[in-house]
């Protein structure tokens, strides 16, 4: 299968008062169509910069980002985004919030079709009955669910998530992981999940990419094969534990606290 996302030799630096601050250094990532890819790495290593580059919100200094065989030079409507802070437009109902992308991305849907699509998605993430509520009436977890619906309502090829569950409590987070699997079963998208929760990356992703410390480059790629299981118990199987262990070790290398070959 062709790669949907191809990040080729991307190098990027931010301009600061103290000279350029390199964040990405010759980064290469490929994600096949339909795959779910998690990106982990030490904090401040340029993970969020990566999302902006894929979304076309920023241009890399060097290297190229390709989506669907096309070079990304500006934002494109085939991308959906979800952030750690699930910003909702407080003056709109939940359903109107979810339908926001359809007001911007050109489409041939009628008003009724749009509403049906929004209601379907909300039901899929367990928000049936909350369509006409205001965002201020929802909990953090519910807002994040709605924000996921908004990110995929226009059927994007790519869903980019920047630590979407980072601000949630542990149990809500686990609920949302399962919601994520439910969405993947229904909606065909290629996912990029930026996270610093290793268990989250192993549970949700087909491959986990470990970035090195700043400036970030691809340090390790871990293929996760858990027999397609999506129940939470899978995290506690020996296979998953082994992967987690390897990832943990890679993170320590990225943090500069261990060297390759040394026991973690």
């Amino acid at each position: 299968m062709a790669n949907l996302i191809d990040i080729k030799g991307v190098t990027h630096a931010y301009k600061t008062d103290n000279g350029p601050l390199p964040v990405l250094d010759d980064l290469n990532i490929s994600v096949p169509e339909g795959d779910f890819c998690a990106v982990v790495g030490p904090s401040g290593c340029g993970k969020s910069t990566l999302t902006k580059l894929v979304a076309g919100l920023m241009k890399p200094d060097q290297g190229e980002v390709w989506l669907h065989g096309e070079k990304v030079t500006s934002p494109r409507s085939t991308v959906g985004m979800a952030f750690q802070n699930p910003v909702m437009l407080e003056w709109r109902t939940i359903l109107q919030n979810v339908l926001l992308p359809l007001e911007i991305v050109p489409n041939k849907m009628t008003k009724k079709q749009k509403e049906e699509r929004g209601r379907e998605l909300l039901a899929l993430v367990g928000l049936e009955g909350f369509e006409d509520k205001r965002p201020s009436e929802l909990s953090g977890g519910m807002r994040q669910r709605a924000s996921l619906c908004r990110a995929i309502v226009h059927k994007p090829d790519v869903l980019i998530m920047d630590e979407p569950f980072g601000a949630l409590d542990a149990f809500t987070r686990e609920d949302l992981w399962q919601t994520m699997h439910a969405l993947r079963a229904e909606e065909p998208f290629t996912g990029v999940l930026i996270t610093h929760d290793l268990r989250e990356s192993v549970y949700l992703a087909d491959e986990v990419i470990v970035l090195s410390g700043r400036p970030a480059t691809t340090q390790h790629v871990e293929n996760v094969k858990l027999d397609g299981r999506t129940d939470l118990e899978v995290i506690y199987t020996p296979e998953a534990t082994e992967i987690l262990h390897r990832l943990r070790h890679q993170i320590e290398i990225a943090q500069g606290r261990a060297t390759d070959g040394e026991a973690a």
Binding site: K52, A55, G56, L57, S74, P75, R76, S77, V79, G80, M81, F83, N85, V87, L89, E90, W91, L100, P101, E103, I104, V105, R134, S136, R150, H154
Partner: protein, 254 residues
């Protein structure tokens, strides 16, 4: 029941205030040239009711027009300052300086520049005194927009105009209405400054002046109360507009 309470509570408060005022004047046995009491005002209103209507209308429309100009101009300046850091740095000291100038000193200057154009002058002062809070509120509202809001729309390829129309504008409305409530009372002060400092025979300021000249003290107090009434009226119109356009910002109590 809820609407009844909403109207009854402030009405009772006003009645208690009037009773207290009457009581203070009565206890101290003040003559009405020192302090008129509410009961002194009733004859003033019944005697001059047609003048109150004519002059009150002149004050009201000139204030409202000044306020509308302030809304348009203030929002525009606020937008410029909210979207551009450079413009914000450039305009803030100018605006603060301009706002710090006592408008009572500007009145004669304006009256001299635009001599004879009484309506225009009055509207101008009402506008000048009231646009500042609107500019500041709009600029703060726009410049504190969380970047995620912009990124959500930008990543879909939305234009700057769409981002402004769909997000920045509605997001700023609560701040805008907060400032408009302050601007309403300021605009009345502006109108009356022109009417009293540069008398030209128009508005409640003129009626106040003629009360002063004729030593009709109850009339002077009656004018002040009429101004307060107009202020309250306009304020609640703004509150009603706020409910319609920014009611979402009000969180349920408790």
């Amino acid at each position: 029941m809820k609407t009844f309470r909403k109207i009854a509570t402030p009405t009772i408060a006003i009645l208690i205030f009037l009773a207290f005022w009457e009581f203070i004047v009565w206890v101290n046995q003040w003559p009405n040239y020192k302090m008129a009491s509410p009961s002194d005002l009733i004859p003033a209103y019944t005697k001059y009711w047609n003048l109150f209507l004519i002059y009150g209308w002149q004050t009201l429309w000139r204030t409202v027009v000044g306020l509308l100009v302030a809304v348009v101009f203030g929002t525009l300046i606020g937008m410029i300052m909210g979207f551009s850091r450079t413009m914000r740095d450039a305009l803030y000291p100018l605006l603060v300086g301009f706002n710090a100038i006592p408008k009572a000193t500007v009145v004669p200057v304006i009256a001299l520049i635009l001599i004879g154009q009484h309506d225009l002058n009055t509207v101008l002062i009402a506008f000048m005194i009231s646009f500042f809070p609107i500019s500041v509120a709009v600029s703060i509202g726009l410049s504190t927009l969380e970047p995620e809001y912009r990124d959500i729309l930008r990543s879909l390829g939305a234009s700057k105009w769409t981002i402004f129309w769909k997000i920045a504008l509605p997001k700023t409305l609560p701040e805008f209405f907060g400032a408009l409530k302050v601007a309403v009372t300021l605009a009345f002060i502006g109108t009356n400054l022109m009417e009293i400092v540069e008398p030209h025979g128009k508005g409640l300021g003129h009626l106040f002046d003629s009360g002063k000249i004729n030593a009709d003290y109850p009339l002077m107090f009656a004018v002040l109360i009429a101004l307060a009434f107009l202020g309250i009226l306009l304020y609640y119109i703004v509150v009603a507009l706020e409910k319609i356009f920014a009611g979402w910002a009000e969180r349920p109590q408790g």
